[in-house]
């Protein structure tokens, strides 16, 4: 009988490149930058890694297909490598592969690498892509902001909140993330912004303005995972373990059935509930110390607070404006600046989130370091990704925590 992933695998080391418009770097440079930090952090040699997972989404815009780009960039010694892709949950999917391999006892030490080079397309914004040979014949050619913006019109209607009120809560979310990123040298955007600037920003897709949307950037992040015993043999004392790793993909209901009302993601609650169960968390609002969620757009983060069970239905705007998710609130969200300030190099994002949780749990987050209510450091963090669009997506939730001694 399966018992879940909790505490079977720990993180030996992590690395994260600087995110941004890295004009002088290709995907191989980004992978090397993240990997060098991770190897140094883990304190082991490259050749001790026995298997590796590469997450990259827009391969046609950067690396090309298969896992070979990673094997070649890092000169791995012909170990088994796998490329994975699950839309914006790709980074977490890479972590999942590496973690499961170690938990299964198939190998001792595995690497999860996520990378994305989005700035070689020649223009701002995400590149156009096919949605499938059949899908292209009947679906609108929606953009990411356009798809997520729709949450707002439905949410405002269902909870009878005016659009200006909703936009104020959305603006608060963006400002909060920017404030957090002023303390993060790896973030792409590190400037403070005001709520009025967000409200006045040029329209992108009603009701989202430019400052409600995360940017397009390049980056890589990676994790080296192993068993608790091996980690201790490397001299590690405080260990960050994987306590839950759950996915919930759409199966067509949101796209084609009337039961979905368009105000939330159907999948995130499912992934979250499974993750809380796997990690043994009974009261997420009390037990989770910090969260990194998929704030591709401000409205997405707002809705996710409810989908993760951290705000009651219809109450997220109030809780957001009340500061619950600010740096000094009870559940800091995007303490590193989030997608809003890092941008969204798709393959890397899930691992960048894990990187911040990892640093926070080990007390290595510098100016951004959080203290839990008890006065000690945080001990449990949650990452969430939403790959795709509200109609059709994959939600991933991971929970990382300090391994009890």
């Amino acid at each position: 009988m399966a018992s879940g992933i909790k505490d079977k695998v720990v993180i030996a080391g992590m690395g994260c490149s600087r995110f941004g418009e890295r004009w002088s770097c290709g995907p191989d440079d980004l992978m090397v930058e993240a990997f060098d930090e991770a190897i140094g952090d883990a304190g082991l040699e490259r050749d001790r890694i026995e298997a590796a997972w590469l997450g990259v989404f827009f391969d046609e815009q950067s690396t090309g297909k298969s896992s070979l780009p990673m094997s070649m960039a890092l000169r791995l010694p012909n170990i088994p490598t796998t490329r994975v892709e699950n839309l914006c949950a790709t980074g977490t999917e890479a972590l999942r592969g590496a973690v499961y391999a170690v938990a299964a006892g198939a190998c001792d030490i595995a690497l999860a690498m996520g990378v994305e080079k989005l700035k070689d397309t020649g223009f701002g914004g995400l590149p156009e892509r096919t949605k499938g040979t059949f899908e292209d014949l009947y679906l609108p050619s929606s953009t990411a902001p356009g798809a997520f913006a729709q949450l707002a019109s439905a949410y405002a209607e269902r909870y009878k909140i005016t659009m200006p009120e909703l936009k104020r809560a959305m603006a608060h979310i963006s400002c909060k993330s920017h404030e957090n990123a002023t303390r993060n040298p790896k973030a792409h955007l590190r400037n403070r912004i005001t709520e009025q600037q967000v409200l006045d920003a040029p329209a992108v897709s009603y009701p989202l303005g430019v400052l409600d949307c995360c940017g397009v950037s390049d980056g890589a992040a990676c994790a080296i995972v192993t068993t608790p015993a091996i980690a201790r043999s490397l001299g590690k004392r405080d260990l960050v373990s994987v306590q839950a790793l759950q996915l919930a993909p759409s199966n067509g209901v949101e796209m084609g059935h009337q039961s979905w009302d368009g105000t939330h993601t159907l999948t995130t609650p499912l992934a979250a509930q499974r993750a809380y169960r796997e990690a043994g968390i009974l009261n997420p609002r009390e037990q989770i110390d910090l969260i990194e969620v998929h704030d591709c757009f401000s409205i997405t983060e707002l809705v996710l607070m409810e989908d993760l069970g951290l705000s009651d239905l219809g109450r997220a705007p109030h809780d957001v404006l009340d500061g619950r998710y600010d740096r000094d609130g009870s559940i800091p969200c995007q303490i590193d600046g989030g997608l809003k300030c890092f941008g969204h190099p798709i393959g890397a994002t899930g691992l960048r989130m894990a990187y911040e949780i990892y640093l926070q749990l080990l007390g290595r987050a510098g100016d951004r370091q959080l203290r839990a209510r008890s006065g000690r450091g945080p001990s449990i963090g949650l990452t969430h990704n939403l790959g795709g669009i509200p109609n059709r997506n994959i939600a991933s939730v991971s929970i990382l925590g300090l391994l009890a001694a």
């Binding site: 397309t121 020649g122 223009f123 914004g125 156009e128 040979t133 059949f134 292209d136 014949l137 009947y138 679906l139 609108p140 050619s141 929606s142 953009t143 902001p145 356009g146 798809a147 913006a149 729709q150 949450l151 019109s153 439905a154 405002a156 209607e157 329209a203 992108v204 897709s205 009603y206 989202l208 199966n251 067509g252 209901v253 949101e254 796209m255 084609g256 059935h257 009337q258 039961s259 979905w260 009302d261 368009g262 109609n391």
Partner: protein, 457 residues
Amino acid sequence: MAWASPPVRKQILGTRAVANWDEDALTMGVEAARSCLGPSSGEPQRELDPQSLLFCSTTSPFADRDSAVVLNAALGFADSVETLNLASSLRAGTGGLIAAARRVGTRTLIVASDARPTRAGSPQELTYGDAAAAMLVGPSSPAALAAIVAVHSVGSDFVDHYRMSGAGFDYALEERWVRDESLTTLVPKAVAELLSAAGCGSESVRHFAVAAGAATAKRIADACGLGSARRNETVLNDCGDAGAALPLLLLSAALEDAQPGELILLAGIGQGVDAILLQAHAGVSNRDPVLARTLARRREEPSYVRYLSHRGLLDVDFGMRAERDQRTAHSVAYRKRRALTGFTGGRCRRCGTVQFPPSRLCVNPECRAADTQAPYRLADSGGRVKTFTEDWQAYAARPPYVYGNIEFAEGGNLLMEITDIDSGELQVNDAVRFVFRIKDEDRARGFRRYFWKATKA
């Protein structure tokens, strides 16, 4: 455009019908046919469905790809319907009507449609219009609007205007020459032959519908002895000269004006004359004024520059997003043709759930049964807006690109483009209906593809 040519200045006040960027002769034909027939069940031939379908146009989007077949599929009719295309003449519509009349005992749907390209600053830019008209012709019935009494057709290679295949625009010759040398001799001669064959005098004709501009129409009428017959002016004033569709629009206007028993004389003109004598029947008394309603339901296009862009007369830089490759996987388009052209989804026989596209496994999370869906046509259904956005970033011929989740009346959901809409006009819960429109164009390979869109009901 008044700065460019003095004759244009004289006609500066007026209205003409302009197709939206996502309309062409085929899509307008579908809309006219649906308006004529009412909802189709999508089931194989019902009693009153047409047995034959004629698509009549001088501006069919494809020189070689059967538009009548596409039209038939968009209407949800069976493949067994006989489909014909009439082209290359402004008498394509009246020719279709005559052909249908000669096929006694057959129900024929005639769809005449033209979206007429015009050069910037040309007289035609102001006088042409884009429109479609559809008429169902068949055996006598109590609901019939009119009967065709007599027909007389004559050809004459009088090149008043022309357009070579592949050319963009018509080339028109001097109006006075056309009027004096051809129309005011050719039409009266044809009308005289027609009335003689029918055994009635010109004074018995109550309505005269002739496909010509107002001033010329008056001259023709006088020359035919039909000066006192009623002539409709709204079609040309509010719509314009809609090519192959014009005679049928004029006939439609006459039928909305006629009393039972009255005679209507229709003259289609295009290198010849199709003269058709009709008698209004009892059905005109409770005739649905669809033409008047259609003319009233117009949207104003305030921007001449945007109009030029939509007609392909102005090459606007829409940015790199517009470079996207719109290649069609034709084997997929064929495999899914009923869903795509006929907007036909599935209805699960086990749980009743309506869904689009149809699938092997039912989308209802409580059901998910395999291979239980019967075809279910959604084109004539309706829905409401569940979510929407106005996307200024996406490539659109007419920004913003508006799309949203549409919940069908009978259940089910689909993310759809919303058309004939401008920023600020849409709200959640708005009622919508569905229309057949151009989805996009593959400029690299020269292929236009179609799908259904939502529009405010």
